[in-house]
Symmetry: C2
Subunit: 347 residues, 2 copies
């Protein structure tokens, strides 16, 4: 949702469910490698409380016990895939989340070195910061025997999100947990996974233009107040969106995704060509389309990869014709797993 | 939601999906009797778009072919259970819905006489007008061979609702269809039944005080605008409410029901004792509580009839102690059927 080196105070303090006073936590691996997926959030009427993970696109974190690093600290040894990120762990999404996870586990006797491979572009609206944070939180947790549950990993990631893009869990929760996740509340944190049926296919068509979404303008475009009729409308569409996910009804999901009358109408005009891209997606057979995160990526949904590619092509053409922007289309399945260990070296 | 003799212009014209130009519709019975259930609408964050039907509580309509009634017309021959309703079919919920249904079926050669038995009190927040309208629409439809589908019956009932309590379908749709119904849109009318799992029990605890809810004040209490944080909160709770219904999670349903930050906080203070009743319901083990419709009935939810009775007793006590209102408690199952034929006399 935002670039990783931005800094912003969290809106509310984070409660750490630390496991202090419990048995000392020891590493079970000398090194691990983790992956966390991209996410689409602000799903139309799901603004600020619903997000979904995207398969085959995301960030990698490699983490090792490193005796040259001060105990209880993290050193970022390498960042690939982006030249814009700070190697200072206090200013880096992966670093912040790794430190938060270490605190939760009360790790004071080991230093860690972290390597971040960005598979996601920054500021594209695909949950880049959340993917780095989720991968780092999971890597630390797995390195020390997976003592923390997903809620705690989300809280660790949330500390990173709060610093870089505001206190919102709609990217970090699906990045950690996979699938669709509804954020029911923050205090206490209550996450509701919405299981999309296993026997149904859902593809996201993600079209990212070469355009830096004006983050400040995107935020300023949000109305402070919402008229009652629009409020009721968006609430009803949020309900329909949740039903469509649980029932695996991709047509209804698309329709709900397209139905936002509050945020998208204010933000879409700030992304050149977005309105035309949405029309093109639907005309080409997409079941629905909206802005992914705070943009500039457009996200449409469909039930077949082949159709998705055709639709993506039309969306790319619309970005070029109407927005004068070059763009790249990808067709990706729903990720049902979330952040995960992909490699490990035993002690 | 409102008393039946009020009059109000519909907010938008109603489209009649008439079956004109089709084969002439003939009666298949000389008389029928129908039932339609009470409904709870404005379910916390489900305000104005979500309602549910209540088993074993509702209105009855008896309808006969009557050669003494002008063809194409309806005469209301008897109203029992209420002395406040107009026998003029143009000013009576059942009459309006019956006429609307006759128009849809293009019935011009038969006159009908209608008897209405009110099982529901007026203006209690239990969808009294919708129950009468649903029973009448279903009676006419069944008398003539059930040519219309539920969407059309809801539209016929909606004409009645528009005249007596505003253009809202969150009572009439569940009164016709049973279960929970989400109103996705009005133009065109799109109704989404939310199936509560068959193997789960859901009980509504309905506590109706002797108090006439100040309808005008109740409407005026609705804010014209909603702050963005409250909008996002209520949308997320609406999503959680829908998920809880589809998953049959009565605890989560109660929690979502209780979570409204927009309408209930404004309306509850207008019903003496309501806030205390809600607290009493939850303290006694109810999973959640809110105002039913526009009140004054309080509705709580639970998964056992026995526990429901205990909770209802505590709610009655709270209405008396804090609101100085006498009240009656009922514990009723979710109705899964909706308006139905219960008797018929063949031709």
């Amino acid at each position: 949702m935002a670039v990783c080196f931005q800094f912003q105070s969290p809106l509310k303090p984070i409660t750490f469910p630390s496991i202090r006073n419990q048995k000392k936590v020891e590493p079970v691996f000398t090194s691990v490698k983790s992956f966390a997926p991209a996410t689409v959030a602000n799903l139309g009427p799901g603004f600020d409380f619903l997000g979904a993970a995207v398969d085959g696109l995301g960030d990698y974190v490699s983490l090792s016990i490193d005796s040259s690093v001060s105990p209880g600290h993290v050193m970022i040894s390498e960042i690939s895939g982006s030249s814009k990120l700070s190697p200072n762990p206090l200013f880096n999404c992966a670093g912040i989340a790794a430190i938060a996870t270490m605190k939760m586990l009360n790790i004071r006797s080991y230093g860690l070195s972290l390597k971040l491979e960005k598979g996601l572009p920054l500021g594209s609206g695909l949950g880049s910061s959340a993917a780095s944070a989720a991968a780092a939180a999971v890597a630390v947790n797995e390195l020390f025997g997976a003592k923390l549950g997903v809620d705690q990993l989300v809280l660790a990631g949330l500390e990173s999100e709060a610093k870089v893009s505001g206190y919102h869990a709609d990217n970090i929760a699906p990045a950690v947990m996979g699938g669709f996740v509804l954020i029911k509340s923050y205090d206490p944190l209550e996450l509701k996974p919405l299981i999309f049926p296993q026997n149904r296919d859902l593809f996201f068509i993600l079209v990212s233009p070469e355009f830096e979404a004006p983050t400040k303008k995107m935020r300023a475009a949000l109305p402070a107040e919402v008229g009652m009729p629009h409020h009721v409308w968006n609430c009803s569409q949020a309900g329909a969106l949740v039903a469509s996910v649980l029932e695996g009804d991709v047509v209804a999901l698309g329709k709900a995704l397209s139905s936002d009358k509050i945020v998208e109408p204010k933000r879409a005009p700030l992304i050149p060509g977005m309105e035309a891209v949405k029309k093109a997606a639907i005309k080409a057979g997409g079941f629905g389309c909206t802005i992914s995160g705070a943009g500039p990526t457009a996200v449409a949904v469909i039930d077949s990869e082949e159709k998705g590619k055709e639709i993506g092509q039309k969306m790319v053409e619309a970005f070029l014709e109407e927005g004068h922007l070059r763009s790249v289309a990808m067709v990706k399945r729903l990720d049902r797993v979330g952040a995960r260990l992909i490699d490990s070296v035993p002690i």
